[in-house]
Amino acid sequence: MRPIAALRRWQPPRAAKAIALALACAPFALLAIDAATDRLGANPVEAVLHRTGDWALRLLLATLAVSPLRRWTGWQWLLPFRRLLGLAAFAYALLHGLIYVVLDRGLLWDDVVADVLERPYVAVGLTALALMVPLAVTSTRTMMRRLGRQWQRLHRLVYAVGVFAVLHFLWSSKLDRLEPLVYAGVLALLLLSRAPAVLRAWGRVAGPGPCDTRS
């Protein structure tokens, strides 16, 4: 089943989309409230940097979980929410990057460039963010239609984004790697769930065939 067909088949009610959007915005709203009421602790820049990074990663993994969950549970209604989750992940990642450049580095571009060149965890973080840009730009229905089968190929980049994002968290941790390792484990499970589809695709002779949305 093509994604376009799937999207056409069923659309969630507006209220459901509004609720989903509100939920995705909730971490930002809480952050804004904490900032406005001076409840970000002694190092507020670090707090907003960590919280936006955490939510970017959580929402990214949630995006990646839609397809396997849909397959295992048969909940077709999950699919239309995938774009919202992905865009929310991108929004938090972008915010995370902006906070790093503006608030943490104080727009000192030499420092930012040195960080990217000398510190692998910054480089992979930036790569993850950069790879999300084409995905966000092509997330509209029009772009989906225009790109056709290429759309899906392009959006497989999301797996690379997941790997880079988890590496970014893992390599930036100073001491306790438990939390990033939990994220790495979840990502590994989500990637493994795609393995059968990938293997099937490899086994198939190249050429036009039924496009597998579940890959």
Binding site: A35, L40, G41, A42, N43, P44, V45, E46, V48, L103, D104, R105, G106, D111, A114, D115, E118, R119, Y121, W171, S172, K174, L175, D176
Partner: protein, 321 residues
């Protein structure tokens, strides 16, 4: 004929060269500082306001150290801590501080010394003059603070135990209490926490054995009841909740060096020109200054170069980081 006998001087009585050299320099600096303090002191103006949370330290002696610095807000300094024994996050140490038992508390001193023994926290508080010194604190993670410590120069305490000439280093060991301290139930770090100093660093007049901060006894999350303060080194050198000090001949293997020798060195002197592999050390962020405060330049030896640079003369500081 009467032979003249030269009395033998025990090696513990011989003051190491860097120490007496330092003492002269320190006396000079102190004389200048005292003069400055007299000029700056205004009657009725308390330098450090007491937060009124814990027991005040009796007979506090104000000093000229850091009178020009503005202390970090008490709540910020006591809610944002690295004290892994009490938990790995910045908030955990304050939340778990009640689990730390600080009485009774005994400091054992042993190793290359003539009078090994122990001293209780009450004796340290009553037998030594408690000095208030305002120092800059710089964490290896690039945040910074200004702390009005209370304590005793470490050299005064160590002298009691008469280190011998074999005492080239001191090794400091922190509390080990996995039954009570949540952070010690997981092998996040190899427990107990061990830090070390070269003997001349330990005997340096700036090096403090702290018993309090902000005029009161130390909060658990800041290393109660007894911690080291070495203001020209990254914070992790300043071991918290110390139970043992050992005089040793060889450089001790310290906790962070054991864990990641390419990221943490034995010296760990604050140095804006030598980066940690994962972050630049050129700039620091003072805590408690809000969301829009900018980083400021980090100073060589955290601003104490005048007092300590001589300790490292001739050393390649990018190699001995």
């Amino acid at each position: 004929m009467q032979r003249i006998r030269i009395p033998s001087v025990p090696s513990s009585e011989i003051t190491p060269r860097p120490v007496w050299e330092d003492r002269r320099r320190f006396l000079r600096a102190a004389a200048g500082g005292a003069a400055a303090a007299l000029l700056l002191a205004r009657p009725g103006q308390a330098a450090v306001s007491r937060p009124g949370r814990l027991a005040p330290i009796a007979d506090l002696q104000e000093t000229a150290h850091g009178k020009d610095l503005k202390p970090t807000d008490y709540d910020d300094f006591t809610s944002y801590n690295n004290f892994v024994e009490l938990g790995v996050s910045k908030e955990a140490p304050a939340n778990n501080a009640h689990l730390l038992r600080t009485r009774p508390w005994t400091l054992k001193v042993e190793g290359e010394c003539e009078a090994p023994g122990e001293i209780g926290i009450e004796d340290i508080l009553t037998q030594f003059s408690q000095e208030e010194r305002i120092y800059r604190l710089r964490c290896v993670e690039t945040w910074a603070a200004v702390v009005p410590w209370v304590g005793v120069p470490l050299s005064l305490v160590l002298a009691r135990f008469k280190p011998t000439s074999k005492a080239k280093f001191v090794e400091l060991e922190s509390i080990s209490d996995p039954d009570r301290l949540p952070g010690q139930r997981r092998p996040v770090l190899p427990w107990p926490y061990v830090e070390g100093l070269r003997i001349d660093e330990a005997m340096h007049p700036l090096t403090l054995l702290a018993t309090g901060c902000y005029g009161e006894v130390l909060p658990g999350q800041n290393g109660a009841p007894l911690r080291l303060v070495v203001p020209w080194k990254y914070g992790f050198k300043s071991a918290k909740s110390i139970v043992r000090i050992r005089f040793v001949e060889e450089m001790p293997e310290t906790t962070w060096v054991r864990l990641q020798p390419d990221e943490y060195g034995f010296y760990a002197n604050v140095n804006p020109t030598v980066d940690h592999p994962r972050w630049s050390q050129a700039r620091e962020r003072p805590i408690g200054e809000g969301l829009f405060a900018r980083r400021r330049q980090t100073q060589m030896f955290n601003g104490y170069a005048e007092q300590v640079a001589d300790l490292y003369r001739g050393m390649d500081l990018s190699r001995h980081y």
